[in-house]
């Protein structure tokens, strides 16, 4: 173990692999030293495990109705009680993790790269490209997220795929703005000039040299935005425009529980807790990542 650690922390690594692993190891240990980041990471880990092993963890089927046991309060048999169709809420929350995770990763995978590339191109070239791209970005940015998503879902039709697309469309402008701002700070730097002088094309400069520098701030922003994405998804679900019944999407579950909120509080509360917990988890992790990946921090090593 100690041999491995000294190998990883070697000041003068002998191979590319060792250098990269060593760097990853430093980020990792720095992350572990941040208690909030660890808590956030654990929450996300639990979410992922729940999503993967949902059938093993959930005691009941998420859509199996049992009308004899409608609206049962939390008990030993039903840890989080049952809803108006007698479905076990705990099982639905566990299965709901799959949908939440799907939405969050899909939005991140679609929106972050799109925003990054648009922002980097805009910042790197400047001039007309910048004005047009940022004009479009600002139009998207100026509209409230949920309203814009609503409009898209209304146009595309309700459903989970359309909800993902709609949220992605509302999410990318922020990343474009961040990437552009970062790119402008080093667009005229000498290291970019040096790479251009070596004959590298603009595409290569952007992809290999500009984007890696914008990546860490974008990753941090994405993790911090996860909470917002979950809430937007929940909002769409709540309005009946996201995942359709009987899918156990957390926002939709809250929407249905609304009718019983005064007498059967657990129906709406339990998925609400899940949303808050996961949002918090992503926020903590994002905060921790910011402390670790921030370039000013890295320079001090």
């Amino acid at each position: 173990m100690t041999a491995l650690r000294t190998w990883l922390l070697d000041d003068s690594p002998a191979s590319r692999l060792q250098a990269n692993l060593g760097r990853a190891w430093r980020v990792w240990t720095a992350l572990l030293r941040n208690p909030l980041a660890v808590v956030g990471g654990l929450i996300i880990l639990v979410l992922i495990v729940m999503a993967i092993f949902a059938p093993l963890i959930a005691p009941y089927s998420p859509i199996g109705q049992d009308l004899a046991n409608r609206l049962m309060p939390p008990s030993a048999a039903h840890w989080m009680g049952t809803d108006e169709l007698g479905r076990d809420i705990y099982s639905r929350v566990v299965y709901g993790a799959r949908i939440t995770l799907l939405i969050v990763t899909m939005v991140a995978v679609i929106a972050a790269p799109v925003g990054l590339v648009i922002g980097a191109v805009s910042g790197y070239f400047g001039g007309w490209a910048d004005r047009i791209l940022m004009g479009v970005t600002d139009i998207f940015l100026s509209m409230p997220k949920l309203i814009l998503a609503l409009a898209f879902v209304a146009a595309l039709g309700p459903g989970i795929e359309n909800a993902i697309i709609a949220i992605a469309i509302t999410a990318w402008p922020v990343y474009a703005r961040i990437a552009r701002a970062e790119t402008i700070t080093f667009r005229d730097a000498e290291f970019i000039a040096a790479i251009r002088l070596q004959g590298a094309s603009s595409t290569r400069v952007i992809l290999r040299h500009v984007l890696p520098l914008c990546a860490s701030s974008t990753i941090i922003r994405v993790t911090l935005d996860m909470a917002g994405i979950i809430l937007t998804a929940a909002g769409l679900g709540f309005l009946g425009l996201g995942a359709q019944p009987p899918l156990p999407e957390w926002g939709a579950m809250i929407a249905r529980g609304r009718n019983f909120i005064l007498d059967q509080w657990w129906v709406a509360t339990m998925p609400g807790f899940a949303i808050i917990l996961v949002s918090l988890g992503f926020c903590f992790l994002g905060d921790g990542l910011r402390d670790v990946l921030d370039p000013k921090q890295g320079g001090k090593q």
């Binding site: 000041d11 003068s12 690594p13 002998a14 191979s15 590319r16 060792q18 250098a19 760097r23 730097a189 000498e190 290291f191 000039a193 040096a194 790479i195 251009r196 002088l197 070596q198 004959g199 590298a200 290569r204 290999r208 040299h209 890696p212 520098l213 370039p295 890295g298 320079g299 090593q301």
Partner: protein, 250 residues
Amino acid sequence: MTDAAIHLENLSISYGKTPVVHDVTFSVAEGESFALVGESGSGKSTILRAITGLAPDWTGAISVLGKPRGHAPDRDFAKICQMVFQDPYGSIHPRKTVDDCLAEPLAVHGIGGRDTRVKDMLAAVGLDQRFRFRFPHQLSGGQRQRVAIARALMLEPRVMLLDEPTSALDVSVQAEILNLLKKLRREQGLTYLMVTHNLPVVSFLCDRLAVMRHGRVVEIADVAALKTGRLADPYSRELYAASGGALQPA
């Protein structure tokens, strides 16, 4: 003019609407080390940037090794002429290892044998192999400048443009880098066009110098004139005196 490594004719450069350099004409022979001397704002660095294509707004003619230059950096030019920048802290990508930095020009031009070439180049610029996978923030200023020189030499150019390569360094480190530049030039028959405000450095490294003021060349002289304090132009003599030299009649 066929044997000139760099030839500038009536070169005028502007940034936007501001003219910075006016009607500069000189040529640098192959294998020569030529200095552009002047104070900040004299336009000396701008000339280097125009040659490389980083300052595209110029009129007149620039040719490097007999080939006329365009107004932007290009791939073929990269193989014959490279530049070393002033600030070793700003001219190296902060998130890439020394290895990435040196292998990149080879990758751009599809040149193979990267491992051995990078190792050989590290040895040539006097950097130990253990620096190969370090990041810039783990290196000192002098080590970074060695990396920058190595990077410029990766494509085996014949002409090197040096933009104040030692002005950001401590005296003792400056001596090391100057020795290195001198050794590389001797070994590889390089042509240097160096911008500096430091006259003693010119005396050590260069054969000829052009003194610039307000975007114009006021004097082109042999380095012997500098060493003996016999520069002719009043402004050159003023610079010389300010740098601590004892003037002789021109």
